[in-house]
Amino acid sequence: MKKVKIEGLEGSFAVAEAVRMANADVIAAYPITPQTHIVERLSEMVADGELDAEFICVESEHSAMSACVGASAAGARVFTCTAGQGLELMHEVLYIPSSMRLPVVAVIANRALSAPLSVWCDHSDVMAIRDIGWIQMFAENNQQAFDLTLCAYRVAEDKEVLFPAMVHLDGFYLSHVIEDMVLPDEEEVAGFIPEYEHPFVLDPDRPVSMGCYGPPFIYPETKKAQEVAFANTRPKIVETWKEFGDTFGRYYSPVEKYKMEDARIAMLTMGSCGETAMLAVDEMREEGEDVGLIRLRLWRPFPFKEFREAVKDVELLVVLDRAISFGMGGPVCSEVKSALYDQRKKPYIVGFIGGLGGRDIPIEGFKYMVSRALEKVKAIERGEEIEAEMIGIRE
């Protein structure tokens, strides 16, 4: 480790700082709460000459992602960020960089979806874009938002990867909160993220046709190739995080465990509420409950191996969803159940839905989930059917 600087930074500014250090060429973005501070800070950086980039103030998120696709196809390192409704408007375009192997990097300040209008955090926006073929990671604090943004560039642009990557940070909880964080030496960052060189770019000296038309005799083969290549990004992501840790001293893994060594009960969270959940685990441990916590750092590609390994000795898994799949329960809980279905030994899984539209989940909320889950296990053993319960709702 070389020179480091400790600075109090808002989550949004931390992301902007990472984009500046990554030396992005083109930024295309449209303002939406709670992502605006990221684009404002980047605009300032470009206006002050701190970052030599083209900032395209597009007229919608659909165009933001479209401009990123074009810029990436022309060989530029690109960035965009959005939230909630903006991510949904982008939805159609999100499939393009993953299918055309363009390493676009995006940061999402996670936000609830209308109606009613809510600018506050939950994961409804993420759950609507699960299947887009992007690498997706979740940050838990501002340091991680910064670190994971750098890692997103490194892994996305790797010639053996070439997939777009998305970093999720919870709107307001991280985007608008100032935390102390370690800023690495810029040269070291430049060493970690090499110059981007895509093997095929739009170049009159070497003409290529991109985005051709795929009738039934060839479309399925293109999708098989995409899925195989996407699955193969898992070891690259792990390798990148290892290298990041060796360089900067902070290590990440697809599934992160807290007090899981002898845990009988495990909670599972994604995003910023992991920190509250850790405090809840500490309290419950003091009260004699064998509880641990699993935080999913990598959401796509889903880390099956690491996840199964993490829960192999657990008797009860309590899953928190910050989104609803209407008529189905919690989407993370459904995925976790399917990931364990063909395992011989698997825990009871009890899902809860909470923290919608920016409603806080206090420490007591996590403790309530664990005690309720234990009751529900008894109900399951009696042969009763249980459903995902929404917590913290005024009846």
């Binding site: 060429d25 083109v26 295309a28 030599d52 980039a53 083209e54 395209i56 103030c57 597009v58 007229e59 919608s60 659909h62 165009s63 933001a64 479209s66 401009a67 990123c68 696709v69 074009g70 810029a71 990436s72 196809a73 022309a74 060989g75 530029a76 690109v78 159609e92 375009v93 393009i96 055309m100 110059e195 739009l202 170049d203 009159p204 000296d205 070497r206 003409p207 290529v208 046709s209 991109m210 985005g211 051709c212 038309y213 795929g214 009738p215 060839i218 293109t222």
Partner: protein
């Protein structure tokens, strides 16, 4: 011009090099494919083309084949101007940062149909024109969604039959007047706007060259006769394009930095009926409707002449 004369003179006037290769899957007599061929001749090699979903995209890029001899990208239907914005910005940034040193100045061009331009793509186009990117946008207007099977667009002319503006007891077909897309481009105060038609190939190529050379956004609106959708004989594409111009239905003009210039001055307009009677899509129209169209065409042509300062 006789065939022998054409063989002698045409190669001196226009390159024989094709950047839009033959063997594509366009319908017989496709005016749009012909227009694209002319446009590509005018653009030359040092260009990047962004194509919207539509006829041209599907006829030219069926995997694993391609008609494009220049760099070409298709992503979606409505986002051509936004993708061009990104490519142009990428080149700007990368040249400035010393990451690339192109031998010649690269041109950035968007292609879309009338649906991709005047309906679903108008927001992205308006945004790109307002931001002032250095690009040329070509709208190939065949006056309906031909690729999906002749559905009406906002560019379909009044009275035309389409599959979603059918003729019935209570309908004469399209009940709205054609959206004036070139005027919408002019309203953005961009440096270059023009209308063109493949029936006038040299005029078309000149306009494309002017549009691409000018600094800033340029818009060329190209009427592209479609025998399949207009319900006419495939051998009449060129003639119908000429009649569109000669009747004043589709006047050829340029607007350079706000100044209007008629490309062909027609002292007398032919009756619109001559244009319409060759097309099955207008077959059902009664005399009074045709008169109504005639009056509107004349009024709009006069308006245009006034803007161009032609008496």
């Amino acid at each position: 011009m006789e065939k022998e004369e054409a063989e002698l003179f045409v190669p001196r006037l226009v390159t024989t090099e094709e950047n839009f290769a033959s063997g594509h899957r366009a319908c017989i007599g496709c005016g749009e494919a012909l227009a694209v061929r002319h446009v590509c001749k005018a653009l030359g090699k040092n260009v990047i083309i962004v194509n919207a979903t539509g006829c041209i995209e599907i006829i030219s890029s069926l995997l694993p084949q391609t008609s494009w001899c220049v760099p070409w990208i298709h992503t979606l239907f409505e986002n051509v101007a936004a993708v061009v914005s990104g490519i142009e910005s990428a080149y700007k940034a990368r040249v400035r940062k010393g990451k690339i040193t192109p031998a010649k100045e690269v041109k950035f061009v968007g292609f879309a149909g009338d649906g991709g331009t005047s309906d679903i793509g108008i927001q992205a186009l308006s945004g790109a024109m307002e931001r002032g990117h250095n690009f040329l946008y070509c709208c190939f207007d065949n006056e309906a969604y031909m690729n999906t099977g002749i559905q009406r667009s906002s560019s379909t002319p009044y009275g035309a039959w389409t599959t979603t503006a059918p003729v019935g007891k209570k309908s004469i077909g399209q009940m709205t007047w054609k959206k004036n897309m070139p005027e919408i481009a002019v309203a953005h105060k961009i440096p270059y706007v023009a209308t063109a038609c493949p029936s006038y190939p040299f005029d078309l190529m000149d306009k494309v060259k002017r549009g691409v050379e000018i600094e800033g956004p340029a818009y060329v609106h190209i009427l592209s006769p479609c025998p399949t959708g207009w319900r006419c004989q495939p051998n009449l594409s060129i003639e119908i394009g000429r009649l569109a111009v000669e009747t004043g239905v589709f006047p050829l003009y340029e607007v350079i930095n706000g100044e209007y210039r008629l490309s062909i001055d027609l002292p007398e307009l032919k009756p619109v009926k001559e244009y319409m009677k060759k097309q099955g899509r207008f077959r059902h129209l009664t005399e009074d409707v045709i008169e109504k169209i005639q009056a509107r065409v004349e009024a709009e042509y006069l308006e245009l002449k006034e803007k161009a300062g032609v008496k």
